[in-house]
Structures are given as structure tokens and as C-alpha cells.
């Protein structure tokens, strides 16, 4: 009836009973949950929430929901990071040093990696894609609006499932890529790896269907005149990232399914006996894992290619070079996976091939850096927060690239492998490259979504905290790696390592301050919203000035239909040319616009998928059957009796919305177009 809950070895509630940290965290989350629930009920917001958010198929709202999910997960993942840094700063001596026992510490580093990659970076990426991409290509929505909603709710289910493991049962203690045989039943008999497997399966499915959606959107929904070589670079990077997703996530899904076969059905794909071979998993998971890095970093390059020209008031240098560089990376990213195990005894030819292929990636990446530099050259640079993030990114990311090339030299990697040098390197590229760029994107496009900019002073403070904090946290790790410290150490015996771990902890605290400033920025906006009773200010469409792409040609925030009249594009940087040539026309005659209708099917599929995942983790087979049939039936029911006709916004309504924008725009002191 209750599956593994009745099995004492699964230790369903032992963490809550024996670990005060877990208990208090769970209590805090519950109290916060109840608080939010009460506020929503008291204010009577459930209806609005249901109609405008939960069942919405509007890409802009789904985008915002993705970003909110990502920010919540950022806080969770960062809390893990802080706990690790605090623990390692104290963990000189033996196993009882520090405040975390090994089984807890091991869960934390596993959760940190999984959450940051799959439930922080990926949702943040899709949040930005969702909000910006259709606007940049002049589309009224994505190609498959329902699929978009479905993708979000399945991601949400995965994120909730992984967080349930905090209180009920435990999480995997296997590292973020769960190498077997440690992740097999022989190495991890409890529920940890099952939580890992099922939450990643959910996230993988969601990511794949979202990628299908965006590839279709970019290929088919571009406004007339926007040929591929007039596509903004962010859209190009999004296209390549989504193609990559379509090629690599199936590999992950299959690899996870095989491991599930091992754990649930007694198969022997990766076991030590019965003909299994753990090395096969390592290859599969890195064929997924390495291109995944480019999935994350390519859109970051795209963001820079939008932000740097805007704040340099200048066109992007070498657009064609940039596009070719992106395409070269698409191909090369599949040829480098074995550099994650130069130390597995691959032999001379394999190691040389993967070493050289890895280095070659530095060429197109370097080209991009030069592109941004020459974009700044002879420009008019304004140091607004998005530009600061971008400059911080370029400055930091080249350092990460430097250590990346050092690691790509196979014989040198034999000394770096799995040391903290490696950990410092990938944080150097992920924080310095991906996070800085995504934050630049968030700050840059925030006024697009909400009509007002984030507070500038807090933004600058946040940037400097992240920037300085980053160097303090990760440079000690480079040195520690060279001193012979490996990653994932619950304790260490070398007294000379401790000062460096303490410096790294101080760095993490400085980054925490940076996150706090970002939260304050957002709270200020929430306060603004409360003061104005939720009515967003509709002001100028081009708050940063000298923006270049179509998303800035419409009001901020955009109306539900995005473009009243679809623009026609003749050049790259369409909006910039409209402004310089004065061809921005203010339409006077509107026609009715077709809109897709909301649906709750995605939400129900998400909830049922969550129940399915939970039941599978705990072996509650009747609930598995029930929720699985549920998921399938909801999809079938939605296909046959769902509302697929959509509805029309009449020309009058469009006129009214556009007039209201013009009025607000003029009132705020805007120039007549």
C-alpha cells in the first residue's frame, strides 16, 4: 500500500528526525508555503492566478514563470553551496570535523550540481527564450503554445520532486552525473538515486518538448523579410542551443532509462557483474553532458551580442563571423566528450584526438570575445548594469577559457583531473560566462517585461559583489587543486589547505550579498506594484536607448498579441534601422487578431507527473498505475475535447490597447512618432 515507506532501510523520515538542519529547513519552507497560500486566499487571487498564469499559453507569462522558478532554485542551489563552503572551511581533521556528516555533505554537493544545471540554469534559459525570442522574430506566440505550457509544468514537477527529497527520504550521494556502480542498487540502495533519476527524466522530457517548440518557432514563425542572416544573434544561439538539446537530451533520457532498468528491473547495463559495464554510462552521460555546457553558454553569448551593441550604441562587429563561430561550436561540441576522462586509459590516439578537438573549440569562442571587443571599439559606451555584467563576463570568461585550454591538454589534465582546479575552472566559465550573461539578460530585458527598470544602484552593487565574490571563492580553489585537493572532500588532513577554504567561504558570502541585492531589486519592484495596485506602468518602449531589435519596437510590457501590425524587416537590426531611417510607422487601421485559448491540461499533466515520479521513487505501484493512466488520459482528453479553436481579439480591442499605450507614452513625455 505504501511501498517503500514501510521499509525501514529506506529511512523515509530519518533525516527529519536526526538532522536539525533538515528539520528547520522543511519547517521554514512549510511556514512560507502556508503564508503564501493564506495571502493568496485572503486577497482572493486564486482566480486571477488560475486564469492569467497557471492555465496561460502566453509565451510572455510562461517565460516569467520559468524565471521565477529558476530564481527560487538559484536560492536553493546557492544555499547548498554556502553550506558546503562553510563546512569545508571547518573540515580539517577527521570525519567528525565540520558540521556535516558524510552522508549529508554528499547529498548536498549532488543536489547543488543537479539543481544548478537542470533546475536553475535550464529554466532561466527557457524563461529568456520564451519571453524574448518570439518578440525578436516578430511573432505573436511560439509555434506550439500548449506545448510551451506543458513543458513548464513538467519542469515544475521535476523541481518539486527533487525538493521533496529534502524532507522525505534522501537525495543521491553520487555526484551530479551519478557514475555507476555507485549509483546502482549495490552502491546506493536507498531512494536518493531514484529521486535523481525521476526528477531528471521529468526535466529531460520538458526540456526536449520545449526545444522542439523553439526550433519550430525560429524556423517557421519569423516575420516576413527576416531571413536567417538577418536573425538577431540571440535567436541564432537559441536555435543552435535547441538543436543541441534535441540531439543530446534523448541520450540522457535513454541512459537514465537504462539505469532505471538496472535499479528497478534487475537488469545489468552498468553493473559490475552480469556483463554490465560502468564505462558505457560514463560515455553516454558525457555525450549528453558536454554539449549541455554549450546549450547553457551559447545563449549567454547571444545575450552579450545583444547587450554590448546596445550600450556601445554601435552595431555588432562581425555578425557573419559570429554566426559561423556558433555553428562551428555546434559541430565541435559533439567531438569532445572524452576529455572528461582522459584519465580512464583511453590510449594515445583517443586522448590526442579529444585533446586537440577540445582546444579547437577555443578558436570560435575566442573569435566571439574579439567580436564583442571590437563592438566596444569606437563606440559610445554607457556603463549601465547590463553592460557591467557583460564586461564582467568578458573579463572573467577569458580567464575560464584560459584554464579550460590548460585542462584540454591531456597530459596536463592528468594532474588536474577531479581536483579543485577543475571545480574552479568550470565555475569560472559557468558563473563568469553563463550566470553573468544571464543576469545581464535579466536586467536588460526586465523593463521590457515590467515597464520599469530594476534599481540601478542596487544593480551595480549586486554586480560588484558577484564579481569580487567570484574571484575570492574560486581562486583559492585553483591553488588548492594545484596543492592536491580533490573535489567532494568531506574532510581533509592537510592543515595548509584550511586558509584557502576559509577565503573561499568569504567569497561565497560576498556572492550571497550580491544575491541579496538582486532580491532587494525585485522586492522594490514588487513594492512598486503593490503601490500601483498591480497596474504595470506602460512607458517608453525603448528604455535603454539605442536598442536594435524588434522586441523594443512595441510597448513595454507588450500587449498579449505582441505586434498589432506585424512589422516587415529588410535589414539586420530592424528596429535600429526603423529609428535611423524614420520608417517607424504608427498604424491606424487594425484588424482582428487570432489568439490561442488557455488550457489547464498542462497543469494537470504536471501534477500527475509529479505524483507519478513520487510513486515510482517509493515503489507505490497502484499510485504509479493511477497517475500514469491519468497523464495519458489528460493528454488524450485534451487532444479530443480541448479548445483548440482559440478566439479573436476584435480590431476595436486592439485599437483600444494601442491607444491606451500611446496615451500613456505621451503622458510620460514620449515623443510623437
Amino acid at each position: 500500500m505504501f511501498g517503500r515507506f514501510t521499509d525501514p532501510t529506506a529511512e523515509a523520515f530519518s533525516a527529519l528526525q536526526h538532522e536539525p538542519i533538515v528539520l528547520y529547513t522543511v519547517l521554514t519552507i512549510m511556514v512560507l508555503g502556508i503564508l503564501v497560500f493564506t495571502v493568496i486566499t485572503l486577497c482572493g487571487w486564486w482566480g486571477t492566478l488560475w486564469r492569467n498564469w497557471i492555465t496561460t499559453v502566453d509565451h510572455k507569462r510562461i517565460g516569467i514563470m520559468y524565471v521565477v522558478l529558476a530564481l527560487v532554485m538559484l536560492v536553493r542551489g546557492f544555499a547548498d553551496a554556502l553550506m558546503m563552503r562553510l563546512h569545508q572551511a571547518m573540515a580539517l581533521g577527521n570525519e567528525s570535523a565540520g558540521y556535516l556528516p558524510p552522508d549529508h555533505y554528499d547529498q548536498i554537493f549532488t543536489a547543488h550540481g543537479v539543481i544548478m544545471i537542470f533546475f536553475m540554469a535550464t529554466p532561466l534559459l527557457f524563461g529568456l527564450f520564451n519571453y524574448i525570442l518570439p518578440l525578436q522574430i516578430g511573432a505573436r506566440d511560439v509555434a506550439f503554445p500548449f506545448l510551451n505550457n506543458l513543458g513548464f509544468w513538467i519542469t515544475f514537477a521535476g523541481a518539486v520532486l527533487i525538493n521533496i527529497s529534502l524532507g522525505v527520504g534522501n537525495f543521491g550521494r553520487v555526484g551530479w552525473l551519478a557514475y555507476p556502480p555507485l549509483s546502482e542498487l549495490s552502491g546506493s540502495p536507498d531512494t536518493g538515486v531514484d529521486y535523481y533519476l525521476w526528477s531528471l527524466q521529468l526535466s529531460g522530457i520538458a526540456t526536449t518538448i520545449s526545444a522542439i517548440n523553439f526550433v519550430a518557432t525560429i524556423i517557421k514563425m519569423r516575420v516576413s523579410g527576416m531571413t536567417m542572416m538577418k536573425l538577431p544573434v540571440f535567436c541564432w544561439t537559441a536555435l543552435v542551443a535547441n538543436v543541441l538539446i534535441l540531439m543530446i537530451y534523448p541520450v540522457l533520457t535513454v541512459a537514465l532509462a537504462l539505469l532505471i532498468g538496472d535499479r528497478y528491473l534487475g537488469m545489468h547495463f552498468f553493473t559490475n557483474d552480469g556483463g554490465g559495464n560502468p564505462m558505457v554510462w560514463i560515455n553516454y552521460v558525457w555525450i549528453f553532458g558536454h554539449p549541455e555546457v554549450y546549450v547553457l553558454v551559447l545563449p549567454a553569448f547571444g545575450i552579450l551580442s545583444e547587450v554590448v551593441p546596445t550600450f556601445s550604441s554601435k552595431c555588432l562587429f562581425g555578425y557573419t563571423s559570429m554566426i559561423w563561430a556558433i555553428l562551428v561550436i555546434l559541430v565541435l561540441s559533439f567531438l569532445v566528450w572524452a576529455h572528461h576522462f582522459f584519465t580512464m586509459g583511453g590510449g594515445i590516439s583517443v586522448n590526442t584526438f579529444f585533446s586537440v578537438a577540445t582546444m579547437v573549440i577555443a578558436v570560435p569562442t575566442g573569435v566571439k570575445i574579439f567580436n564583442w571587443l571590437f563592438t566596444m571599439y569606437k563606440g559610445r559606451i554607457r556603463l549601465e548594469p547590463p553592460m557591467l555584467w557583460c564586461m564582467g563576463m568578458i573579463f572573467t570568461f577569458v580567464g575560464g577559457g584560459l584554464t579550460g585550454v590548460m585542462l584540454s591538454i591531456a597530459p596536463a589534465d592528468w594532474q588536474f583531473h577531479n581536483s579543485l582546479f577543475l571545480v574552479a575552472h568550470f565555475h569560472h566559465t559557468i558563473i563568469g560566462g553563463v550566470v553573468f550573461a544571464y543576469l545581464a539578460g535579466l536586467v536588460y530585458w526586465f523593463p521590457k517585461a515590467f515597464g520599469i527598470k530594476l534599481n540601478r544602484a542596487l544593480g551595480i552593487a549586486s554586480f560588484w559583489c558577484w564579481f569580487i565574490g567570484f574571484y575570492f571563492s574560486f581562486f583559492p580553489l585553483y591553488i588548492l587543486g594545484l596543492m592536491g585537493a580533490t573535489r567532494r572532500l568531506q574532510h581533509y588532513i592537510e592543515p595548509s589547505w584550511q586558509p584557502y577554504f576559509i577565503i573561499a567561504m568569504i567569497g561565497a558570502l560576498i556572492i550571497a550579498l550580491g544575491i541579496l541585492f538582486t532580491v532587494l531589486q525585485l522586492l522594490l519592484v514588487v513594492w512598486y506594484g503593490i503601490k500601483h495596485k498591480g497596474r504595470l506602468p506602460v512607458r517608453e518602449n525603448d528604455p535603454w536607448g539605442d536598442t536594435r531589435t524588434l522586441e523594443w519596437s512595441i510597448s513595454s510590457p507588450p500587449p498579449p498579441y505582441n505586434f498589432a501590425i506585424l512589422p516587415s524587416v529588410t535589414t539586420l537590426d530592424a528596429y535600429w534601422h526603423m529609428k535611423t531611417e524614420g520608417t517607424q510607422c504608427k498604424p491606424t487601421r487594425f484588424s482582428r487578431i487570432h489568439m490561442p485559448s488557455n488550457t489547464s491540461a498542462g497543469f494537470w499533466v504536471g501534477i500527475l507527473a509529479l505524483i507519478l515520479g513520487f510513486a515510482l521513487v517509493w515503489h507505490i505501484w497502484w499510485l504509479v498505475a493511477f497517475s500514469f493512466i491519468g497523464v495519458i488520459s489528460v493528454i488524450i482528453l485534451h487532444s479530443f475535447i480541448g479548445d483548440h479553436c482559440g478566439y479573436y481579439l476584435s480590431a476595436m480591442e486592439v485599437q483600444k490597447t494601442e491607444d491606451a499605450f500611446t496615451a500613456a507614452y505621451l503622458k510620460a513625455g514620449g515623443k510623437e512618432i
Binding site: N94, E95, D103, D106, G175, Y179, P181, L182, G187, N272, P278, M279, S312, K314, F317, G318, Y319, S321, T343, G345, G347, N351, T352, S355, V356, A362, V363, G366, V367, F370, L373, F374, M376, K378, R380, I381, L383, I394, F395, V398, G399, M406, I409, A410, P411, A412, W414, Q415, H417, N418, L482, M483, G484, T486, R488, Q490, H491, I493, E494, S496
Partner: protein, 322 residues
């Protein structure tokens, strides 16, 4: 002002030096032949890359100051987006640097391939000391097949003599790493990885597992003692006096999980123990992987069609006749 700059410069260099020299940065102060080559490679690649990276870092800051929007008198080219000259350099400079590094990498990968005996040692007709290492949960077992002895968490090896390690693991994947000597190599169940190391100086070098393998992973450290030939022989006889026997039964006892294990000596080791660990047939009644693979291959379509596995039988009578 000039003096202040000098003082600041000296101070910063001193801080850096004290930060790095106050403690022993193992990878940069190696004692092993392989690790020394790797240190040189690391430093060369770092310098080469810095030649590109430092100008970029400098340019970001310099451009932000020089072309700041407040400076209206600097040149402003809003539509300057194509320059084939610049793009030529943009692609060719990284290509040049990467080509140099690629050649270096290929050369060193060939020269220091862990499974190959070290050139230097071959040239000096240096017959290697063989050590078979097994990563257990959570300790290292080192078997000296030529001496018939074994230890837990301790290696003694003569300085200047090449050591040929074979690595495997019992349960989970680990990696063998002595930072002062060089080259991490995975110790994996069912696999037999070969690693050649050589220490050029006497000393005690910390070693560890470099791949996370579960709860007791952090305690999987061992010490590599590089000693003179005489001291090595003394140590061998010390181990021989311990009286512990490592046979199938005591080995299975060792495979049980245990953390932070003390150094232990075994004066006798079953001859085929390491072979059986790699082939996973230490437990009584289990078939070795090599045998299983032979059976599976014989049963496969290829085996049946070509019947290469019957060759021995058909040749055997001929031999007898001779």
C-alpha cells in the same frame, strides 16, 4: 610616487610568493619524472594563453574608459561592423596559439602515455618495480607480486626506479593520484589500467583517490615513500615479518566497507589474487570474466560461424604425434 609604485610591486610579488610558498603546492613542486614534465607543460600553456588573455582583459577596461559615452571627442563609428583585416587576425591568432598547444599536447600525450614504460627508465635499462593496486571501499590495497607482499594504504618504492602500477577496483570507480609524482589514472572494477611513475627524490608523498566513491571517500589517502634501495629492502623484510596472509578469504573480509583505515601489512599473497579481482572471481564458485567472455564469444554468431574456438582441439592431436 615612483618609489611607492616600486614598494607596491615588491609587496604584491612577496604576498603572492608567500601565499604559494608558505605551503607546498604539490603540482608545481613535483619530485616525479612525469609530474615534472607536466609542471613544465602547465607553465608553458599558462604563459602562452596569458599572451592572449591579458591583452583582452586590459582591452575591456581600456575601451570602457576610452570610449565612454561622456567622451564626445573620441571617434564614433556606429555602423562599423565589418573589417576583413580585423577578422583575419581575429581567427588566425587563436588558431596559431591553439596549433602550438595542440602539437605540445600531442607530443606529451605520446611521450607520457601512462601505459607505456617511461623513456628515461627504458634508456637506463631500469627494470620496473611492479605494484598492483586495488581500490576497495574505502582503502587502497597494494600488492607487490615480485615480493609476494601486500599493504593497505602504504607504498614504498626505491627512488629512481620506475614503478609499473596496475590499477583496478572492487566496487566503485576510484582514481589513483600522487600529485608529487604525476598522472591520475582511474581504478575501475573489471578494468586493469596501467600507470608508470618514477620518483627522482626521496620523500613521503601524499596520495589519494581522485574520484568520489561514496561516504568514506575523503579518508582514502595513502603515503608513497620514496626511499633508497637499502631502505626499501628493509621495509620489505619488515612487511614480511607481519605474519598476515592475504588469501581469498582475508581479501573478501577486506572488501567490507571501512573508513580511514590504518596501514596494514601482509607477508604473503595468493599468486592469482589480482587476476581474480580484475576478473571478478575471488568468491568461491564464481567464473572469471575472461572465461565468461570466451564462452559468450563462442556462443555468438561470429563464434559459431568461424568456430575459431575449436582450433586448439584440432591442433592438439598433431602436437601429440610429434
Amino acid at each position: 610616487m615612483e618609489n611607492l609604485k616600486k614598494v607596491l610591486g615588491i609587496l604584491s610579488v612577496l604576498t603572492l610568493m608567500s601565499l604559494l610558498s608558505g605551503c607546498d603546492v604539490a603540482v608545481l613542486s613535483p619530485t616525479g619524472l612525469v609530474a615534472k614534465a607536466q609542471r613544465d607543460l602547465i607553465i608553458i600553456s599558462l604563459i602562452l594563453m596569458l599572451c592572449i588573455v591579458i591583452p583582452i582583459m586590459f582591452a575591456v577596461i581600456f575601451f570602457a574608459i576610452k570610449y565612454h559615452a561622456s567622451k564626445k571627442d573620441t571617434e564614433y563609428l556606429p555602423d562599423w561592423g565589418i573589417s576583413h583585416k580585423v577578422e583575419f587576425f581575429m581567427w588566425s591568432i587563436p588558431i596559431c596559439v591553439v596549433s602550438i598547444l595542440a602539437m605540445l599536447s600531442a607530443y606529451f600525450t605520446y611521450k607520457y602515455e601512462p601505459s607505456k614504460p617511461l623513456d628515461y627508465a627504458v634508456a637506463t635499462d631500469n627494470n620496473p618495480l611492479r605494484i598492483n593496486a586495488v581500490a576497495l571501499e574505502w582503502k587502497w590495497l597494494f600488492i607487490y607480486p615480485e615480493y609476494g607482499i601486500a599493504t593497505i594504504n602504504e607504498i614504498y618504492a626505491p627512488t629512481g626506479r620506475q614503478v609499473a602500477l596496475q590499477l583496478t577496483a572492487q566496487d566503485t570507480i576510484n582514481a589513483f593520484w600522487v600529485p608529487k609524482l604525476g598522472s591520475v589514472l582511474y581504478a575501475m572494477p573489471q578494468m586493469n589500467a596501467k600507470l608508470h611513475l618514477l620518483s627522482e627524490e626521496n620523500g613521503r608523498f601524499p596520495g589519494m583517490s581522485a574520484n568520489y566513491s561514496g561516504d568514506g571517500f575523503a579518508g582514502m589517502h595513502f603515503t608513497w615513500h620514496s626511499v633508497s634501495n637499502g631502505d626499501f629492502d628493509n621495509w620489505v623484510s619488515r612487511v614480511r615479518r607481519s605474519g598476515n596472509q592475504l588469501n581469498y578469504v582475508t581479501y573478501l573480509e577486506l572488501t567490507k566497507k571501512s573508513k580511514s583505515n590504518p596501514v596494514t601489512y601482509f607477508s604473503g599473497v595468493d599468486r592469482d589474487l589480482y587476476y581474480r579481482v580484475v576478473n571478478r572471481c575471488v568468491a568461491e564458485g564464481s567464473k572469471c570474466n575472461e572465461e565468461l567472455m570466451r564462452l559468450a564469444a563462442a556462443r555468438s554468431l561470429w563464434g559459431e560461424l568461424c568456430s575459431v574456438f575449436d582450433v586448439r582441439e584440432s591442433i592438439a592431436p598433431v602436437n601429440i604425434r610429434e
